[in-house]
C-alpha cells in the first residue's frame, strides 16, 4: 500500500497562507500610500518607486524562495563581509537625508543598506548560534553573538540610524532566546541595553527640567558626558564602589561570588560608555523625539503635535472609516510622515476599525506562519533564521503600533509591507522568501 499523507500535511512547496497574507498587507499599504500622497508634490516619484519596488520585491521573494537557504550558512563569511562593506560604503558614498548618511543614490531610486544588513545579520547570527549550540548556555556564546553584532551597530550609530539598532537589537535577543540561551545571560545583555538607553534618557530629563541642575550631584551627573576626564572619574568611582561592596560582602560572610560585582560594574561602565556614544551621536530631531515622548506638552506644535494629529486621524476613522481617498487628516497633511512611519494613521482614518483589525490580524497571521515554519524547519539553522524573521516582524509590529497609539516613543520605524519604502519592502520580501525557502525544504511530516 502506498502511503498517502492526510491532505492537511501534504508537502506543498510554498506556504500560501503566509504569502497571501503578505500580499494583502502589501495591497492595503499601497492603497493607503497612494491615498496619502495624492496631494504631495512628490506624489509622482513615490508612486513610481512603489510601482517599481513591488515587482522587484516579488522577484527577490521568488529568488530567495527557490534558493536553498543552507547556502547562507555555508557562505556566512561572504554574507557578513558584504554586509559590513555596504554599511561602511554608505558612510563614504552615501547621501545625507534628515541628518543621516544612510542612502545610496542610484539613477532611478535610492537604497537603504541598513534594511538589508538587518537580514544579513539574522543569517550570520543564526549560523553562529547553530555552530555553538553545544555551548549555548555559556556566557561566551552570548557575548560572542553580540560581538558579531557590534561592528554593525557601530556602523549604524555612525550614520546615525538608531531606529535600525532599535529593531536589530531585540531581533538578536529573540534569536538568542529561541536558541535556548541562559536567561541570566540574556538579562545581563538586557541590563546593558537598558543602561545605555537610561543614560541618554536621564540626560534628556535633566535638559527638560533645568531647575534640577541646581543640585550639585545632578549637575555633576549631567556633565559626565562632556569630557573624557569626568567620564574616567565616573568609571573609577564605579569600579571602586563595586570593589568596596565586594569587600563588604566578604566581611559579612555573604556567599556572593566576586564575579557578580565585577560583572555588575562592567555592565554599568559599558552601558555608560554606550549611552555616552548614543547621546553624542544623536541628532537634534532624535533628541527632540525622546524629549517629546518624555513630556509631550513641551512642544505642542512639534513632534507631540504630529503624534496627536496621527491619533486624531485614527480616531476619526471610527468603525467603518471615512472611505478610500477621503481621509482629511492625512490628505491635508495634518499627519506627518503619513506614507511611511504613520501609514497606520491613514489606514485607520480611511478604513476604520475594521481596516486596522484586518492589518493587525494579518500581521498576527504572518507571525504565526513564521513560527510554524520555524517548528517545521529541517535544521537548526533554518529554525533560527525563521525565529529571527519572526522576531523582526514582532519588533516592527510592537514599535510601530505602540508609537502610533502613544505607548512608545516616535522612533521613525516603518511598518513592513504596509509603509512606503522600496528598500524596506524588498528586504522584507527577501526575508519572507528565505522563510518560504525554509518551509519548502522542511521535513515532509512532523
Amino acid at each position: 500500500m502506498i502511503f498517502t499523507p492526510p491532505s492537511g500535511l501534504r508537502k506543498t512547496r510554498i506556504d500560501w497562507v503566509l504569502f497571501l497574507a503578505a500580499i494583502v498587507l502589501l495591497a492595503i499599504g499601497t492603497i493607503a500610500i497612494f491615498s496619502s500622497v495624492a496631494v504631495l508634490p512628490a506624489q509622482a516619484r513615490i508612486v513610481r518607486v512603489q510601482l517599481i519596488a513591488i515587482p522587484l520585491a516579488l522577484i527577490v521573494f521568488g529568488a530567495a524562495w527557490s534558493l536553498n537557504y543552507q547556502v547562507y550558512q555555508d557562505q556566512w563569511k561572504f554574507v557578513y563581509g558584504v554586509m559590513l562593506v555596504i554599511l561602511a560604503g554608505v558612510l563614504i558614498f552615501g547621501v545625507v537625508d534628515k541628518g543621516a548618511r544612510s542612502w545610496y543614490r542610484l539613477p532611478f531610486f535610492s537604497i537603504q543598506p541598513s534594511e538589508f544588513a538587518r537580514l544579513g545579520l539574522i543569517l550570520v547570527l543564526a549560523n553562529f548560534l547553530d555552530k555553538r549550540m553545544g555551548r549555548i548556555r555559556e556566557l561566551p556564546t552570548v557575548v560572542g553573538a553580540f560581538a558579531l553584532c557590534m561592528p554593525v551597530f557601530l556602523l549604524l550609530i555612525k550614520q546615525p540610524d538608531f531606529s535600525a539598532i532599535l529593531i536589530t537589537f531585540p531581533v538578536a535577543l529573540v534569536m538568542l532566546f529561541s536558541a535556548g540561551a541562559s536567561l541570566f545571560h540574556l538579562s545581563i545583555i538586557i541590563g546593558y541595553a537598558f543602561i545605555s538607553a537610561l543614560f541618554p534618557i536621564l540626560w534628556s530629563i535633566i535638559t527638560l527640567n533645568p531647575e534640577l541642575l541646581d543640585n550639585t550631584m545632578v549637575s555633576y551627573f549631567f556633565h559626565l558626558s562632556d569630557s573624557l576626564f569626568s567620564a574616567s572619574v565616573f568609571v573609577a568611582g564605579v569600579a571602586l564602589g563595586s570593589w568596596l561592596l565586594w569587600r563588604l560582602s566578604v566581611r559579612l560572610y555573604a556567599n556572593v561570588s566576586g564575579a557578580i560585582f565585577a560583572g555588575a560594574a562592567l555592565v554599568l561602565i559599558l552601558g555608560f560608555f554606550s549611552g555616552m556614544l548614543v547621546k553624542n551621536q544623536m541628532k537634534d530631531y532624535q533628541q527632540k523625539r525622546l524629549e517629546v515622548f518624555l513630556s509631550p506638552e513641551t512642544d505642542p506644535r512639534g513632534a507631540g503635535y504630529n503624534l496627536l494629529q496621527a491619533r486624531i486621524a485614527i480616531g476619526s476613522g471610527g468603525i467603518l472609516g471615512r472611505g478610500f481617498f477621503s481621509g482629511t487628516q492625512s490628505r491635508l497633511g495634518f499627519v506627518p510622515e503619513r506614507h511611511t512611519d504613520f501609514i497606520l494613521a491613514v489606514v485607520g482614518e480611511e478604513m476604520g476599525f475594521w481596516g486596522m483589525l484586518l492589518v493587525t490580524g494579518l500581521y498576527v497571521l504572518v507571525m504565526r506562519r513564521l513560527m510554524q515554519g520555524a517548528r517545521l524547519a529541517r535544521d537548526r539553522f533554518g529554525y533560527l533564521v525563521n525565529c529571527g524573521i519572526f522576531g523582526m516582524f514582532l519588533v516592527y509590529f510592537c514599535i510601530n503600533f505602540g508609537m502610533l497609539l502613544g505607548m512608545a516613543p516616535v522612533a521613525g520605524v516603518p511598518l513592513p509591507l504596509v509603509s512606503y519604502g522600496g528598500s524596506n519592502l524588498v528586504a522584507t520580501m527577501a526575508a519572507l522568501g528565505i522563510a518560504e525557502s525554509v518551509y519548502a525544504r522542511r521535513y515532509a511530516l512532523v
Binding site: 496631494v39 549550540m133 549555548i136 529573540v174 532566546f177 529561541s178 536558541a179 535556548g180 494629529q309 491619533r311 486624531i312 486621524a313 485614527i314 480616531g315 476619526s316 476613522g317 471610527g318 468603525i319 482629511t328 487628516q329 491635508l332 497633511g333 495634518f334 485607520g348 482614518e349 476604520g352 476599525f353 486596522m356 483589525l357 493587525t360 490580524g361 500581521y363 498576527v364 507571525m367 504565526r368 513560527m371 520555524a374 517548528r375 517545521l376 524547519a377 529541517r378 535544521d379 537548526r380 533554518g382 529554525y383 525565529c387 519572526f390 522576531g391 514582532l394 509590529f397 510592537c398 503600533f401 505602540g402 497609539l405 505607548m407 521535513y443 512532523v446
Partner: protein, 618 residues
C-alpha cells in the same frame, strides 16, 4: 525540528508575547475608534474647516402701515485669503494696488495682509464698501488672486432717529453678551446683536441664521477648496402697531416744542395697542451699526440719550389728575355735580392760602365747568367732602403707582400720594395734602405711559389693557410666528353717570375750556390739559386726549408731556392734535380743513463712511 536541545516552550512564550501585543493594540483601537470615534471626528472636522461668516440679514421692523423702520441692506466686504499670493513682493504689490481704492494707509494695509498671510488666516480688509470703490476693486480682484468681495447684510434704519426708544439699536458683543451666547453656534465674537429696545427683546426672532463660506484648509492653514457656501436665513419680520404717520407727527411735534424734550404715547383704547411712542431726546441707531463699541458712535463728550421719557420720566400729573379726583367725587355720593363752588382765585385752608391757577377766579362753577376750566378751588373744596382716601383709592384703581405692563425694560411705576402712604410712614396727613392731592400736585408722580393708560380707560369705560406694540411676527418663509393679543389688566368700576359726566367735561375742555387748540373737524376730541409744577425750572406741560369719529368707540387716546412746556394748552395740545389727525387720517372727512399730515422724514442717502476694518470669524 527534531532537536531536543531547543526548549519548545520558548517559542510558545514568544507567541504569547505577540498575541498579547495584538490584543492590547486592538483594545486600544477599540477605545479610540469605536468609542472615541465621534470625538476625534469632530476634532478632525475642526482641523480642516475654516469659516468666513456672513451675517444673516436681521428681520425687518415695520410700522402698522408697513413702512420699514429697521431693515437691512447689502454691504460689501473685501476679504483676503492667504494661500495664493503669499510672497513678500506679491503682498507689497497687492497692498499698493488696494490702498488707493480703499483709501487706506499703505503701510497699515500691508502689515495686515502680512499678518494674515503669516497666520494663514483670511482677513476682512474692509467692510461696507461703497459702490464706487466696488468697481475699482472688482477689477483688482481679477489681477490679485486671494482678494475677494463678499456680500453681507448690514442693519439700516431708513428714518434714522425714529422710534428709537422702542426699536433700540444693535452693537458688537460685549463680555456679558458673550457669556450668554458663546454656546450658540449662531453667534461669534464678531456678531452684532440687539443692545436695546425691540432689537434686544426680539433678538432671537430677528437674528436669523448666519451663512458662511466653509473652507477646507490643509495643515498649514492654506486654502485647499471651498467646501460649501451656506446661504443665510433672514430673521423674522416684526410688524408693529405703531402708525408711521402718527409716530412722525409725535416726533415732529416734540422736536418743534419749546424744550424739545418730552414724550408722546398714543394707545388704541379698544386694545391697548401702541399707536405712537415717542420720547425726546432720541438718537440715531444707525451710528452704532458700523462702529465697534457703543460709545464710539457718539460725538465726543456726549452721553447716549437712552433715557426713555415715556416710560421712565415721572412727573406730577397736575390737572390731568383731576379726572381721577372727579371720579372719586362723583362715586363718593357726597358731592352733587350740580352744586356750585364760588372761586375767587384762591382757597383759604386756614393755615395757608391755596391759589387757583386762574388768579381772577372762575366765579361760581359746578362740576362740569370746573373740570372743563380746571378750576382748582372747586376741587379743593369738594375733595375734602369726598375724602383723601377715596381719591387715593381711585388713583390706585386708575393704576397710578403701577407699571402699565408694556413689555419694554425699565418702566417706572410713579407714585400714589395719599393718607395710607403717610400712615405706613407713621407720619401725618394734613389738610394741605388733601388739597394738593386733588389737583395732582404733591407727591403724585406719573409717567406719560400711565397718563395714556388713564385717558384710554376714560375712553373705553375703565378698561386697562397691557400696552403692546408687536402686531405680528412673520418668519422669513412667510409663516406667522406670533401675534400680539390684547390683554386686560384691570378695570375701573364707575357708575355710567360718572363716565358720562367726566366725558362731558372733557369734551367741554376742547369746546370752550382750556384746550380749544385741540379741536379737530370731523372728530370729537375729549381732553384735559395739565401743568406739572417743577421747582427746578419752567413747569412741564401735560395734555391727555382721545377722539371719536361718528360716535364710534374711540380709536386713539394720546398723552403728551412737554418738559418745561409751561402750559398744556399751548405746547402739548397741538402735538396731540397732530397725532390724532394723523392716526385718524383715513376717517376724517376729506373736505374738512386741510389736515396737515406730517410725512416721515425722507430716507437719508445710504451712509458712506470710511471703511472700518473688520475681524474675521473663527
Amino acid at each position: 525540528m527534531i532537536d531536543r536541545q531547543i526548549p519548545q516552550e520558548r517559542l510558545d512564550l514568544l507567541w504569547i508575547l505577540a498575541y498579547a501585543a495584538a490584543l492590547i493594540f486592538i483594545l486600544r483601537l477599540l477605545n479610540m475608534q469605536v468609542l472615541g470615534g465621534a470625538y476625534y471626528r469632530e476634532i478632525a472636522e475642526k482641523n480642516r474647516t475654516q469659516i468666513i461668516g456672513q451675517s444673516a440679514p436681521r428681520g425687518r421692523i415695520f410700522s402698522s402701515d408697513e413702512k420699514p423702520i429697521a431693515t437691512s441692506k447689502p454691504s460689501f466686504s473685501l476679504i483676503y485669503f492667504p494661500g495664493q499670493a503669499r510672497t513678500g513682493p506679491e503682498i507689497d504689490r497687492m497692498a499698493r494696488a488696494l490702498a488707493r481704492p480703499l483709501g487706506a494707509d499703505y503701510d497699515e494695509l500691508r502689515k495686515r495682509i502680512f499678518r494674515a498671510a503669516s497666520r494663514e488666516k483670511p482677513v476682512r480688509l474692509a467692510e461696507n464698501l461703497p459702490s464706487k470703490q466696488m468697481l475699482a476693486l472688482s477689477e483688482l480682484k481679477a489681477v490679485y488672486p486671494g482678494v475677494d468681495i463678499v456680500v453681507e447684510a448690514r442693519r439700516y434704519y431708513p428714518f434714522g432717529a425714529y422710534l428709537s426708544h422702542m426699536v433700540g439699536y444693535i452693537g458688537r458683543m460685549d463680555n456679558r453678551d458673550w457669556a450668554v451666547h458663546s454656546r450658540d453656534k449662531n453667534y461669534s465674537m464678531d456678531s452684532r446683536l440687539g443692545k436695546a429696545g425691540l432689537e434686544q427683546m426680539y433678538e432671537k426672532e430677528l437674528k436669523g441664521k448666519d451663512g458662511g463660506i466653509y473652507l477646507e484648509v490643509d495643515s498649514r492653514g492654506r486654502l485647499s477648496r471651498v467646501l460649501e457656501s451656506r446661504k443665510w436665513v433672514p430673521g423674522a419680520d416684526i410688524f408693529l402697531t405703531i402708525d408711521s404717520k402718527a409716530q412722525a407727527a409725535a416726533e415732529e411735534g416734540l422736536k418743534k416744542s419749546i424744550s424739545g424734550k418730552g414724550a408722546v404715547v398714543a394707545l388704541d383704547p379698544r386694545t391697548g395697542a401702541v399707536i405712537a411712542f415717542a420720547s425726546a431726546p432720541d438718537y440715531d441707531p444707525n451710528m452704532f451699526v458700523l462702529s465697534g463699541a457703543e460709545k464710539e458712535g457718539l460725538p465726543a463728550g456726549k452721553v447716549l440719550p437712552e433715557f426713555n421719557v415715556a416710560l421712565q420720566g415721572t412727573y406730577p400729573p397736575g390737572s390731568i389728575f383731576k379726572i381721577i379726583t372727579s371720579a372719586a367725587l362723583l362715586e363718593s355720593g357726597r358731592v352733587d355735580p350740580q352744586e356750585t363752588v364760588n372761586c375767587h382765585g384762591y382757597y383759604d385752608a386756614g393755615s395757608r392760602v391755596f391759589k387757583c391757577w386762574n388768579k381772577k377766579g372762575h366765579g361760581k362753577v359746578a362740576f362740569t365747568e370746573a373740570l372743563a376750566k380746571s378750576c382748582d378751588v372747586y376741587f379743593y373744596t369738594t375733595s375734602q367732602k369726598a375724602g383723601a382716601l377715596a381719591v387715593e383709592k381711585e388713583a390706585r384703581a386708575f393704576r397710578v403707582g403701577k407699571v402699565s405692563g408694556i413689555p419694554l425694560p425699565g418702566e417706572k411705576s410713579g407714585n400714589v400720594f395719599g393718607p395710607s402712604l403717610r400712615a405706613a410712614k407713621k407720619s401725618y396727613w394734613f389738610i394741605g395734602d388733601t388739597l394738593n392731592q386733588a389737583i395732582g400736585q404733591g407727591e403724585t408722580l406719573m409717567t406719560p405711559m400711565q397718563a395714556a393708560g388713564l385717558i384710554a380707560a376714560v375712553a373705553n369705560g375703565g378698561v386697562f389693557h397691557r400696552p403692546y406694540f408687536v402686531e405680528r411676527i412673520v418668519r422669513s418663509d412667510g409663516q406667522l410666528y406670533a401675534r400680539g393679543k390684547p390683554e386686560v389688566l384691570s378695570r375701573v368700576q364707575l357708575k355710567p353717570s360718572t363716565w358720562t359726566q367726566i366725558r362731558q367735561a372733557l369734551r367741554d375742555v376742547i369746546l370752550d375750556g382750556t384746550a380749544r387748540s385741540a379741536r379737530i373737524n370731523g372728530a370729537e376730541v375729549y381732553g384735559k390739559t395739565g401743568t406739572a409744577q417743577n421747582p427746578q425750572g419752567k413747569d412741564h406741560a401735560w395734555f391727555v386726549a382721545y377722539a371719536t369719529v361718528n360716535n364710534e368707540p374711540a380709536k386713539i387716546a394720546v398723552a403728551v408731556l412737554v418738559e418745561h412746556g409751561e402750559h398744556g394748552s399751548s405746547s402739548a395740545a397741538p402735538i396731540a392734535k397732530a397725532v390724532i389727525e394723523a392716526a385718524l387720517r383715513s376717517e376724517l372727512p376729506a373736505k374738512a380743513a386741510p389736515v396737515r399730515v406730517i410725512e416721515p422724514p425722507q430716507a437719508p442717502a445710504p451712509i458712506q463712511e470710511p471703511a472700518v476694518p473688520g475681524r474675521i470669524i473663527i
